[in-house]
Amino acid sequence: MNLEALEPQARDIIRRYDQRRAAVLPLLWLVQENFGYVSSEAEFWVGRLVGIAVSHVREVVSFYTMYRTQPAGRRELRVCTSLPCVLRGAEGVLGRLKQRLSIGPGETTPGGELTLTEVECLCACEIAPMAQLDEQFVGPLDGASLEALVREALRDPKASGQIQEPQPFIDTSGPVLSTRFKDPEGTWLDAYVADQGYVAAKKALSMTPAQIIDEVLRANLRGLGGAGFPTGRKWSFIPKDNPKPKYLVVNADEGEPGTFKDRYILERDPHALLEGMLIAAYTIGSHKAYVYIRGEYFRPAKRFQRAVDEAYARGWLGKNIQGSGFDLDVVVHRGAGAYICGEETALLSSLEGGKGFPKLKPPFPAISGLFQCPTIVNNVETLACVPFILREGAERFAALGTPKQGGTRLFSVSGHVNRPGLYEAPVGVTLREMIDKHAGGVRGGRRIKAVIPGGISAKVLTADEIDVKMDFDSLMAAGTMAGSAGVIVMDDTTSMVEALQSAVKFFAHESCGQCSPCREGTGWVNRIMHRIVEGQGRLQDLDDLLGIARAMEGKTICVFADAAAWPIQSYITKFRAEFEEFIRTGRRVPQEVAECRP
């Protein structure tokens, strides 16, 4: 392993960051891309380069799922087994792959061709059931496409052919976010500029930060990562008299099962994000922005980097942008497989080169965030709305939404619908409209059993609870949350016991392990659910699950534990009879639908 040869590249990487340690993840990626895995020698090398103990390098390597410490197969096939894929047959996919390849997850074919890995949500639920072959997403995996995938996966990568690109339903009707989603190859600078691109940025650079904040506040733009905090207010928290540098950090760590919106912005309309970033950075007085993209998003990261390069070349990034005197540098940073890094302070810990541990608050990031400097973390989609607001006016954006939340948002619809896909709609669209009108209704004319309205963390709604508007406040009033607007639809063939097991498996896999209630609680409920599904359940388990969920709530550094508790509470409370019947009889779904299960 000739690490010395990588040193020039390593130095370039380190130079991008304001602190050396922040280069840990990209340096590990550099090693893995060159040698296929991260050896012990490489861990020492990285530790030396950034000045940290090798134990802390190992902490990072072991925390993220994508780093390998052993050589693996020539190619890697990651099979998603999260709920949206489970609903569309992921178990069968994994089963057939195991049979076809004669290996299990975590193993490599005897000839060293392929390593099979079972993973949690890759956020491509529109093509569920799906998998990722090296860097490429493939799906939906039915019989024929699965066989094609296996053949491709076993071939020498140098001689590889092309796997057919999936063609999911992607809305392009706009008006705010999806108008430039038409070209699967992406909208690049010339086309973007021709479509009124960077008009808003130009305008913003002639405004004062206070005017921009006022505009964004009047637009009622709320944080679309899931928390729904008013964006203008967040920006206003940046202290004006703090002499430290300010940072804009973009949360592109899309990971909430059932959500795939940010990927389309990164891949098909990256300049919309860049323009929003430019406006936000100018507003908060930041000259350096980091974009944290989840590790599995290889192509989105490459596409976005291409947009960044274009913007530098054309004077939309760098020094003295368009003669305005404003400078902005953008660094594209990649995660390495950890859902928790979508939590904004975990994202900052990760960006600083550590494990994705959420940070204690206070202090809040706006006061002391990245590298202990004032920091604003915004979601991709949130920032992509900003150019529209400045170009078309706050009033127009606000008018699209409800009185307290302006605009539209991108709804990721997955599960048992006829047209799983990405749909832009005003935030006040009802859940029923989203399912019936946009996503084409439930497959096979079946009845809805349950719907998760905002990503797997959101409490589940029953069929008669879906006439609800999907803005933050309406869904909160309905006892759930808008979250990331990942709509997961379950028809009456769904076993809620299995659905919950999938959800708790996800949270047990993704808990960072920092706070005791979450670390122990997620593992505990996972083992109980596993036992129930294996037919070893007791009726007492249901009350125990509810008790554990309650005990996990509100006691941890971040809201992950709460998010892990909500599905348990809502599934068991709303479908208790089904859980009890399962425990008593072992029947996975109510008898009347069991026979007609596809």
Binding site: A53, S55, E59, G513, C515, W524
Partner: protein, 530 residues
Amino acid sequence: MPTLTIDGRQIESPEGSTVIQAAEKLGVFVPRYCYHPGLSIAGNCRICLVEVEKNPKLQIACNTPVAEGMVVHTKSAKVEEGRRSVLEFLLANHPLDCPVCDQSGECDLQNFYMNFGLYDPRFREQKVKKKKAVAVGPHVMLDQERCILCSRCERFTDEISKTGEFGIFQRGDRAQVGLYPGQQLDNRYSANVVDICPVGALTERDFRFKARVWYLSSAPTVCNGCAQGCNVDIHYVLDRPHLNDGARILRLKPRYNEHVNQWWMCDEGRYGFGWVDKGRLKKVRHQGRDATWEQAIAAIAAELDQIRQNGTGSTLGVMASTQLTNEELFLVREIFQGVLGARVAVSGPRPPGDSDDFLIKADKNPNTHGAALVGLSDHSAPTSASIIDDAVQGRLEALWVFGHDLTTLADEKTLEELSRRLRLFVFSGTNDNPTVRWSHWVLPTSAYVEKDGTFVNSRGRVQRIGVAFPPLPNSREDWSVLLEIARQLNHPLAWRNPQEIFQAMAQTLAPFAGLTYDALASQGAGAATP
């Protein structure tokens, strides 16, 4: 300074301090695992949850800054329920192997569970298996299953020893504390992680299974391993000789002193106590035969009296030791210099070693500074080497050696010759050494943990060493030997014990002016600087 109310009582606490600190000032104990006042705040164990009015969620006391008018409850039903939940989670994967765990009896998982726990556990699943009894270094044993992942040890090696050995690897309930494969926890402060581990995950290899902690007695003293004078507690057993081959000291633990060692001590000091129970001199000997203290004191005093009568004090050489207390050195000065006019050298029996910028000092003797303050090591004072030189040159008739090993200064043949030539050759000390066989009289004296007195550390802090347990039978404290010699020399001194000697020192020696044992208390006091 903000004023807040904790459990109905008001307290002022400085801006920037936290609720747990304010509660501590009030004497309200908030349970904690990850919180340690000497380390950064981690906030991960969640056991210190308290209720802060106007806040819907429980807050962790360790990271909640105090604020004016804040009202905190540490014992409300909501708090107790929260703690119970946290404890239930912490025990979920804990092996509950208390009967074979060395931490039993001093385990905060046990203690808090007895106080706040849920007595009817719900956990029925298979526990996560991790590694047990892994020797991670020369002094520390790791049990990953008992670990509650509070990260104190990791923060210690990051922030205090700055050696970075510990890490917490993996995530979720697979998370485990450990070292990078192949590495050792071999920094010079390694065993501190055992002290701060709130559970039985890190135990001391040296102490493991020697005694249940409830058999231990504890006494405060000061480490005599170097000139830093780290405050320690001695843990000992007197009534169960079967536990530790009769050795009384089982272990040392650092004792907090803000000015000296905070919460810490080095491994060298921690494991330097073996000599107290091993290789001790147990009998008064004269020319190879057993003798009594009465015979010894009478005979030695008679010889010394002769010197006094002859006015030949300069033929008496004394090699005092910086292992002696200030009080004993003061008596050496009074009797040998004052009454007898002897040539008195003072030096450390232990040779200098290495040092660092934290607690370890090159001077491996505890009271070098004290000897100077007592006035025994000014420019006119002879060196130990010159005393030996005087003896070799035949300029001495008598020699008293306090614990030194003269073979570091002269070869055995020279000592043999001295033994023959000198009229009086006294060795007083705690442990056997090669000098003992050449001395005429061997006086077994008490170890520092067996006697009262004070040391002055290298930074001028006067610290009382206390008495952990009585001297070995038939051994005596140096100060009591010296007082008896003075009496037999017909020069009785009025003091009956170290405290009274110290009072006299405070009256006559400027550096000790104004100090008393009461004023020194448990944390010591700075010597007056001229």
